[in-house]
Symmetry: C2
Subunit: 405 residues, 2 copies
């Protein structure tokens, strides 16, 4: 088999941990597999490097920032290759421009366009473990680029896709993907298999095990992803194409995000383009709006409600009361803080009626008021008061029978 | 003019110093020049990186060592480019593989083979300062290489040669090249112009202002080198092709090296190849032998004397008493420590008789015993007891009239 293994900053955070990674890669190779290891910078290193840049400039040039930040992974691949040698194995490091991970030129958030598999294949053919720097690439003009935070997951899955690897193993400090946060729900269960679609919803909802872009990549190129612990050899969670059997499970996970805020603009003139007019200045200020709901159209007037991170609320209010004066009077802008978004996710929902109803009933039984509802094909989200979030997650987890193995 | 400026690790050792370098480069550009800046890693950084590698392996793979070590300069070029932006200038960083500084594949001590001037010229044409990473290159297979300690001087002069720069300015923490070490000889004078040949002799004799390979490069491609202080705007020392006027000056500098040791093997059979037979095991052990003198051939027997660093003496003795048993009996191996090599250098020597005689007379006047003598076209070296080294340097400096401006 051809196996791509990805280790994050914590897994390579010390010399001893780098040695552990080396041993695991060698052990995998000794089982008869071709092994490619993708690594992040040692934990703390990227922040140290960006801190140096910040000392010089508060808005540093992103091309130069990428030159600096990419050294973090460069050091790790060198050290890991040395560690594999020291443990008796054979390895060669490969940087983004050496593999040739071609990206666009959007420095600090580059997108992978193409990966040349030649240098990695040559390394494997020589009986070596290929140690590839995550997070970094090179644009068509030879400039060094980085993929943005968490980009090493994406590098790993993209490399796996280019090599048509049998599996991309993502090593983390948890055992896999759980039906809910085990710190909140004691009966939370590790999921053995989950579809890309479900994983996408869970990732975007705050389950931090996998970077969302890496799941998109995996889905696009059908790369089996195995999320597992770097501390043991247990099977983790396989993220795979949707399977028939999955539909039997209506809900596969429950998640909650914290620190949500809500903004409602009432009495807006109901004309085409009104929504864009409201949201454009927020987007320009880099504020990410999440759930958007429009309702109550009466007498040519409409209400628009949306959620955003609580930390952006003050700025958003300020922007809207200036920009929106001709849209709706400032006194008609209402805000609310300390909210949470609780969601249930599952591909089985598509063919099962009544999931939303059941969710509302479970929340109602706990006397939890629902502020907003948003649904997708495989997800239902409710905005509730944050203080009820943990209770809601536990009740939904129990109510949908997720604790039963 | 096209000016290459090189700043070492101390000159870019802190964020504030990087800002100073940025200001100097911008000021030079504002005088109407094209500016290329070559920088080293921040002081201490290369040792930190190699320390990490040492923790993993005591004999680390040199290819991977270069991947790790080269990040030091990569961080500096990024930070300096940011600093130039922050100070209102325009700049782009260029790594070894981006310039394309092509080297052989001798990792950790690579030799520059070719430099492509295209990317640097494009950067300059865009009105930018080109910030080039010193010390690093890339081999024909795209592997990252480094030039060995002090390699940034060589990078700078090589880049200057490739661009046919008008001058390569080497910034250091001293004002230039002196007739002797100012800490030893109070009347030591800064030399305003010196030939490549003289600089080569001085560099190899322990004047640490310029890396010896960079002088060789400068001589080969006739690049004017200007050694000057990073703390002021004073003229430093120009290292240039030999000029007629230089011959008027018989001696241009006096230097001394410390911690020399001497080994004498007596009663060696005088046959072809005997010298190589003695020195080969030392070379294989990485021991660098300096002055070699052979004399006193009698009855088919000869004596061989050579000097080496005092710190290598114990190992050398051990190697020779094993390897040389069939050459000469161990009891005929004599050693002496605590020696110093005192040298006078000057292109004028070629046309002036009696320089050696004068040197011997000056040393004799101080009652200094000469253990060994070695001469080149433009240099005379005497091995003396180390405790007399400073006295000898002062007396020679005075005796040859170097203190007079």
């Amino acid at each position: 088999m051809l196996i791509v293994q990805k280790f994050g900053g914590t897994s390579v955070g010390t010399i001893d941990r780098i040695r552990n990674v080396a041993r695991r890669a060698i052990a995998t190779q000794q089982q008869g597999h071709d092994v490619v290891v993708v690594v992040s910078a040692m934990s703390g290193e990227t922040n140290r490097l960006l801190g140096l840049a910040q000392q010089i400039s508060s808005i540093p040039d992103e091309r130069e920032l990428d030159v600096i930040a990419s050294t973090g992974e460069q050091v790790t691949v060198g050290l890991l290759a040395l560690a594999i040698h020291a443990e008796g194995g054979k390895a060669s490091s490969l940087l983004g421009h050496q593999v040739r991970i071609l990206t666009d030129s959007a420095f600090a958030r580059a997108r992978i366009q193409d990966i040349d598999d030649k240098s990695v294949r040559e390394t494997l053919r020589a009986g070596k473990i290929a140690v590839v720097a995550g997070f970094q690439g090179v644009d068509k003009d030879g400039n060094i680029t980085t993929l943005g935070r968490g980009g090493s997951d994406t590098s790993a899955v993209a490399v796996a896709a280019a090599l048509k690897a049998d599996v991309c193993e993502i090593y983390t400090d948890v055992d896999g993907v759980y039906t809910a946060d085990p710190n909140v729900v004691r009966s939370a269960r590790k999921v053995s298999r989950i579809s890309y679609e479900e994983m996408l919803e869970l990732a975007s909802l705050g389950a931090k095990v996998l970077q969302i872009r890496s799941v998109e990549f995996g889905m696009k190129y059908q790369v089996p992803i195995h999320v597992r612990s770097s501390f043991n050899d247990n099977e983790g969670t396989w993220v795979v194409p949707e399977e028939k059997s999955m539909e039997a499970v209506v809900v596969s996970g429950v998640t909650a995000t914290r620190d949500e805020a809500k903004v409602t603009l009432s009495g807006l003139i109901d004309k085409p383009g009104i929504q864009a007019q409201v949201l454009r200045p927020l987007a320009q200020a880099g504020i990410v709006v999440d759930v958007i709901v429009q309702a109550h159209i009466q007498n040519g007037r409409t209400n628009l409600t949306f959620t955003l991170p609580g930390s952006d609320l003050a700025r958003a209010k300020d922007i809207l009361s200036k920009a929106g004066a001709d849209l709706c009077p400032p006194e008609q802008i209402k805000t609310e803080e300390n909210l949470s978004k609780v969601s249930v996710v599952g591909v089985g929902m598509r063919s099962h009626a009544g999931v939303a109803l059941k969710m509302f009933e479970i929340l109602a039984a706990d006397n939890i008021h629902i502020h907003l509802i948003s649904t997708s094909e495989i997800k239902i989200s409710c905005i509730i008061e944050a203080k009820y979030a943990e209770l809601a997650v536990r009740s939904l987890h129990d109510g949908f029978g997720l604790g039963q193995a």
